[in-house]
């Protein structure tokens, strides 16, 4: 549903404390497919409805959290244009050669933004041999498992100076912010950014420590699948954080929970259709509890403070 030359967040690499347990969770409970393993022991995964080679990489590490988030752009020419524009914005850019640490991916340009996160851009990636059908297609090739996550959808990052991060993603990558939340003195507390009709591809919350992640989100089909996801959490003792509930912000329906290494995951469906010419929705920080948890009407204390 991209409306401009930045297509989507197509890849996220997460650090996990226990690779075996976390991988079992991603495959058997969340329902992703394992695509490949790298020589350095990382495991590459994708949702059953994703065409590209992989969208999630898990790396065994001593700290939980996020290594990088990469955005696919629409052409090699766009990639070169965005490299120049990123450098002009003030972020030094490095180049990762094709088919190296992320098998199947073309050349990537990477840089660290003010919030401390490594962001990468790429234009080319191999299709997965295990992707969705395209000719007289069935909805799926193999029956979806577990929570039936369809694809990697978005992530919420925590770090300092999100006003600058918002400026980078809107001015350089051409995204827009359908919804924002401000402090009483008018500073950005949170921003939701999209490149197309999804309510968000990426979000930021202002936070003093750099490089943190609040959650990565996966798309489910509908509210029934949110209930199915809740069943899997209850049955297998997955540590649930919030939900099933609905956001007023984005209007998505949701459950939040933690995978075995302590990174928070959201399973999400619905949400409004975003257009760049529509007026921006704004929230006062005093109302953010209702904005995040519309049915509860108030903030759940662990929600904003717990990050990896």
């Amino acid at each position: 549903m991209a409306l401009n030359s930045t297509l989507r967040p197509g890849l996220i690499q997460m650090r996990v404390l226990d690779l075996d347990k976390t991988l079992t969770f991603y495959k058997d409970i969340l329902g992703l497919d394992e695509v490949a393993r790298t020589t350095d022991g990382r495991v590459l995964l994708k949702g059953f409805d994703e065409f590209d080679h992989h969208s999630v990489s898990l790396r065994l590490a001593d700290e939980a959290g996020v290594d990088l988030v990469a955005f696919k752009v629409d052409s090699p020419a766009t990639l070169e244009r965005l490299k120049t524009a990123t450098e002009a914005f003030g972020y030094p850019v490095d180049e990762v050669a094709p088919n190296t640490d992320q098998p199947g991916f073309g050349k990537r340009y990477g840089f660290t933004i003010c919030t401390g996160h490594r962001i990468e851009l790429y234009a080319e990636v191999m299709l997965s041999p295990n992707g969705p059908m395209t000719h007289n297609p069935d909805p799926w090739v193999n029956a979806p498992r577990g929570m039936r996550a369809q694809r990697f959808d978005h992530c919420l990052l925590y770090g300092p100076n999100i006003a600058e991060a918002e400026r980078y993603f809107t001015e350089v990558l051409g995204m827009f912010a359908p919804e924002v939340c401000n402090t009483p003195d008018g500073k950005r507390f949170a921003t939701w950014l999209t490149s197309g009709n999804k309510p968000h591809d990426l979000a930021f919350v202002e936070y003093e420590k750099p490089g943190k992640i609040h959650h990565l989100g996966f798309l489910l089909q509908d509210w029934n699948d949110i209930g199915n996801a809740a069943d899997w959490m209850a049955k297998y003792g997955v540590k649930r954080d919030v939900g099933p509930t609905r956001h007023a912000i984005t209007r998505g329906q949701t459950i939040y929970f933690w995978e075995p290494s302590g990174n928070r995951i959201e399973t999400y469906c619905g949400g409004y259709t975003a257009y760049p010419d529509n007026p921006q929705r704004t929230w006062d920080i005093s109302e953010v509890g209702k904005g995040l948890f519309y049915y509860e009407g108030e903030l759940i204390p662990t929600f904003l403070q717990v990050v990896t």
Binding site: L17, E63, A64, G65, W258, G262, R264
Partner: protein, 93 residues
């Protein structure tokens, strides 16, 4: 089932942690102790406590973002990753 007594240094309140029960799970079950909890996976660091006396075992990996070594000598641990091996005293960090 044999259990161990956990004493909270600041308040003197006590509760029982069963054998092989995760310390944070016992805090949550009894509603006692410094019961801030988040991910239950050793990642978020919210349940960090200091075990100031008694034996315990680290049974799950703790994120180095919050606890520098897997067997810290000063007893600073994530309550979601340890189980007592005797009576212990904990304090807030």
């Amino acid at each position: 089932m044999q259990g161990y007594t956990v004493t909270v240094a600041e308040t003197g309140e006590t509760f029982t942690c069963n054998q092989n029960e995760i310390l944070l799970a016992a805090m949550r079950r009894t509603g006692k102790g410094p019961i801030q909890y988040g991910c239950f996976g050793g990642g978020c660091g919210v349940c960090k406590v200091k075990i100031i006396s008694g034996d315990y075992q680290v049974v799950k990996k703790m994120s180095h973002a919050h606890v520098l070594a897997q067997n810290p000598t000063d007893g600073t641990v994530l309550a979601c990753c340890v189980t007592p091996r005797g009576n212990i005293t904990v304090s807030r960090v």
